[in-house]
């Protein structure tokens, strides 16, 4: 459900009324003031099922509460996308891309944006790295531990299938890695996008069942032009014609009813979406300003290690183009973002300057 924001002053949304009303409010501020005349605030209510069977959450552990144990739950991709949709987050698909990919390694960057109450877009980027050599070591360690435990229990020993714990662990790790290898790009893409959403919306990493029984409140800012202004009408109509041409073909824009005589003075291709990414995105990996509008709990949002991939936010992609971000896929030399971008663009993979010249 959604409703236009309400308060005594129509331009101010009091989020505290929702907090008191047993909701999970996804913005840390108490009030949000609308300061753009072209936009309107709306409050979206999103229900997330706390039942893991419904696909909105998955169990990441349990915690002792009183005499019993209580599930600790984390939001799944489905739930986070629901919240992202409600908040009106959009993606820059030109910058949401692989930065580096080899057989054992992938670094993916996602750039998303949310509209502030002023109507401005706040772009934010995050990366997700998957290094299969590290994952292999982690898996091997876990499998070996499991195999050793099984070998000590007579009723579980048969699971080793006449293999030594070392052999069993190697075998198990190999099969585990096939799945990782198969889905590494998709996991990295999802991981990077989810981190952007978590950061933009200040989504906590873990929730209890009780917390999830309360609906989420997501304030969003919608474009709402003033149609009484002829100039605004002309601009909005032009955008509409351009969009119609894109979706219905060129002939569509010449409809026989009431299109204004003026032709667009400029190509309106830089439509609303691209305006969102006109500024340099905030790097989620470095952004730690807890006092900002969207700053709460950003760091906890990044510890997204439910897939077993230990993450250190400090290791992720820094903002500067000259910072080392990846290794050459041919000679393993350190390469900067600028070089990586160029190489991926030209050669389809990350190569250092020397290997690019060699045509590796």
């Amino acid at each position: 459900m959604s409703e236009p924001a309400k308060s005594q002053d129509a331009n101010i949304v009091s989020l505290d009324q929702y907090r008191k009303g047993n909701y999970n409010v996804l913005v840390p501020t108490t009030y949000m003031q609308q300061i753009s005349p072209f936009h309107r605030m709306r409050v979206e209510e999103v229900k997330i099922s706390p039942n893991p069977g419904d696909g909105d959450v998955f169990r990441v552990g349990s915690t002792k509460v009183g005499d019993g144990w209580q599930d600790v739950l984390s939001l799944s991709k489905t739930a986070i996308l629901k919240l992202s949709n409600a908040a009106g987050i959009i993606w820059n698909f030109y910058e949401t891309k692989v930065l580096s990919a080899t057989q054992d390694y992938v670094l993916y960057q996602a750039v998303g944006a949310i509209r502030k109450t002023s109507g401005e877009w706040v772009p934010l980027k995050a990366t997700k790295e998957i290094d299969l050599t590290v994952i292999k070591e982690e898996l091997m360690e876990a499998n070996l531990k499991k195999a050793n435990e099984m070998s000590k229990k007579p009723d579980e020993r048969k699971k080793l299938a006449d293999m030594t714990p070392q052999q069993w662990a190697e075998n198990q790790t190999r099969t585990n890695l096939i799945q990782w290898r198969k889905n590494k790009l998709m996991r990295a893409e999802t991981g990077a996008m989810l981190r952007v959403v978590r950061a933009l919306l200040a989504i906590k990493h873990q929730y209890s069942t009780q917390e999830l029984q309360r609906p989420f409140i997501v304030p969003r800012v919608d474009f709402s032009p003033d149609y009484t202004d002829p100039e605004v009408r002309r601009m909005v109509t032009e955008h509409g014609i351009k969009a119609t041409t894109e979706l219905f073909g060129a002939a569509a824009s010449g409809g026989n009813h009431s299109l204004p005589p003026e032709q667009p003075e400029q190509i309106v291709g830089q439509a609303m979406n691209s305006e969102a990414f006109g500024t340099q995105p905030i790097d989620a990996d470095e952004h730690t300003d807890a006092g900002s509008e969207y700053g709460e709990d950003i760091e906890s949002g990044f510890r997204d290690n439910h897939d077993g991939n230990t993450e250190d936010p400090c290791n992720d992609l820094p903002d500067g183009e000259n910072t080392i971000v990846a290794n050459c896929t041919a000679c393993n030399a350190d390469i900067t973002k600028k070089v990586a971008d160029y190489s991926i663009d030209k050669f389809g993979r990350a190569l250092c300057y020397k290997c690019q010249r060699k045509g590796s």
Partner: protein, 393 residues
Amino acid sequence: MIKIAHIGDIHWGLGYPGPSPQSRFDDICRIMDWSADRIIEERCDLVLVAGDMYKDNRVFLDRASIEIKACISWLRKFSAAKILVVIISGTPSHDPVSAYELIEEMQINDVIIKTKPSIVPIWIDDEPINIACLPGMNRSSLVTQDEYRNMSPHQIHQVMSDRITQICHGLLSQCKEQEDTAVNILLSHITFDKADKGFQDLLMQHEPVLAAEAIDGFDLVSLGHIHRPQRVGNVFYCGSPERLSFNDEEIVPGFWIYEVDGGISSRFIETPARNYITECWEEWTVKGFIEGHKPGPGFKDAIARLKYVCDEATAKLLDRKALERALYDAGAYFVAEIKADIQRTDRVRDQEVTKSMNPSEALQKWAEQQETPPEEISVLQSMTAGLMEEVAS
């Protein structure tokens, strides 16, 4: 006061499962005649048809001509009654734009057809009304452009949703160029992102959506596409006037009538559509039938589907042909399916299998019981873990 009827998702077509390829088409024609009579009887001033008038795209001419003729006959009823009809085309993959263009060429009085976005400003009893038409669309025109060629479907859908918002704003802007006091109606064939689609939102971003932002400013939004009549604020889905498959079993088919008189009020008119009935029989019911009990009267005039659960011995005693005959004797219009779920007697429940086990452990137990080699169990468990992570991430 202006009265407006909102109907759509008619899906005229031959070849629906039924006693003959024609029979369900006849059902649709019957319901549409009933609807037209009711709309005329209600003295509606305007009929909005929200797309998907046809069942299939690319059909042979002999079939297409029957379907288009049915549509034209229906439209002529309104034309004769001097009721204006505004029609938009629906989902291009099964609702051929060419059929709409053909009808448009016929220039039937008081019938306006739109296959591309535009507005229709009209006056009814000195009241100005603007109908912003946004027909159904697919992504084909977008994906052929270089800019979007390599995008994944969910990326394309996000771009489409964004463009749809821009088109709606543009249409509203054009409406605002007209009379200040006009009632502005958006007529479209699309999924509204707040609508109850009847399934979990797991498929989010798998189709373009009409966002709340896009409809801001319209007085009324009349939509087709989702076969589940509903109202969300000022957004209305008419659903289909006839049930067309078992997916529609639980819905109440019909159409809306709005009354515009300062404000807008609405009434849903239920159509006498054919029922779809699914019954699930437990073993004791199956045994009852074998002993001579007859199916109940619930199947009367309905399209029937029966699922039954029994053990192998009972299944052997059941004459499925006799069961089908009995369903027809009970009045079923058409028996679409009789499906058995036969419980194997050699199934043994392992005492160690409990609710507390996770899927991987449960899989291991099951595989051990099936005497699956341990190395294969490991592979299966690994694949399960991968799937679970995929779902969770």
